[in-house]
């Protein structure tokens, strides 16, 4: 038995215990949240259909390999596996696109492979940068964004390199 197999039952029990102590209606909150999860999923399914189709075609045609090989020299210096190139390109632009590409990487390389893990960590440690910038500055009426874009992209790039590093650190390559 490993520590990580304890995470789920312990967390669930902890949430249940805290909920009881605070006298909240744990069960109805749970089902209400689950309903919310279903809404999120429903919204992302149409995008996944379109994007997984395109990503599948892109991989089968050999274009994906070509793109990865193109970026490989730079990425190897940063310690990032070149296979995740498409994920890094789409991550700042589209959340559902990144989800589709990462899913493709996890299923084709295996969720417990080095590349599968790096893809998962990258997805978890970065955000849809350009979308966020557009929403925030757009609604605040800002037209001169100054250094927000370069700083945000620095965070993304660091997140990508750090993801590969963290996976090697915790799991070995």
């Amino acid at each position: 038995m490993s520590l990580s197999s304890l995470v789920v039952p312990v967390l669930l029990a902890m949430v249940a215990a805290v909920g009881l102590r605070k006298r909240v209606d744990v069960y109805s909150a749970l089902t209400h949240g689950a309903e919310e999860g279903l809404t999120v999923l429903l919204r992302v399914i149409p995008a996944l259909v379109g994007l997984l189709t395109a990503v599948g075609m892109f991989r089968a045609s050999g274009a994906m390999e070509w793109l990865s090989a193109l970026c490989a020299p730079v990425l190897e210096r940063l310690g990032i596996p070149p296979e995740v190139t498409p994920l890094m390109l789409i991550r700042p632009v589209s959340g559902s696109g990144a989800l589709a590409v990462a899913t493709d990487l996890m299923t084709s390389h295996g969720p417990d492979s080095y590349i599968g893990r790096v893809a998962a960590v990258m997805l978890g440690s970065t955000e849809t940068t350009f979308y966020t910038i557009a929403v925030y500055f757009g609604s605040a009426g800002i037209h001169r964004t100054r250094h927000a874009v370069p700083a945000a992209l620095t965070a993304d790039l660091t997140g990508f390199a750090a993801s590969a590093l963290a996976v090697r650190l915790f799991f070995g390559a």
Partner: protein
Amino acid sequence: MAMTWVWCGMVLLSLVFGAATGRLEEVSAAALDGAQTAIQLSVSMAGVLCLWSGVMEVMNVCGLSAGLARAFRPLLRRLLPEAAKDDETLAAVSANVSANLLGLGNAATPLGIRAACRMARNCGGVASDELCLLVVLNTASIQLIPATIASVRSAAGCRTPFDILPAVWLASVLSVAAGLLMARLLAAAGRWRR
């Protein structure tokens, strides 16, 4: 609109590359396969995703997000001293950060926007240093339990979908730190040039 370019570009490139490498048959199979995978995957990740959304909601009603917001106030006061002078802005920013931590994207964005609008008053459409910091904080991901990713991993056949958590936390912290540091450096460089 950006996604139109991405999608069309991928489909067109696939046709060109497929024709050049003589793999058009595989491309055709992959297209239909991809659409089918999307639905199979969505169905197999639905359970885990709903479960964790439920758990997050329980944590939320238990007051975890309010507690987190309180815990982050002193830190945010130091990061955004000008904005923190206004109580309502500080409240919105700290609620925004705690919603992000819990992965409540639907709650985090309106809170962040409210803070951004208050910070953008009387600035004539030019982002202040602190507004840039707030945006960088939101373009970097800080999530305690990435439920969507865990559900994709378990749908792909992983037995321990949460074993990547420490790696996600480490990468997130490094990414946020680099973004904030870069924003500070660029702000200082801008002042120095003037």
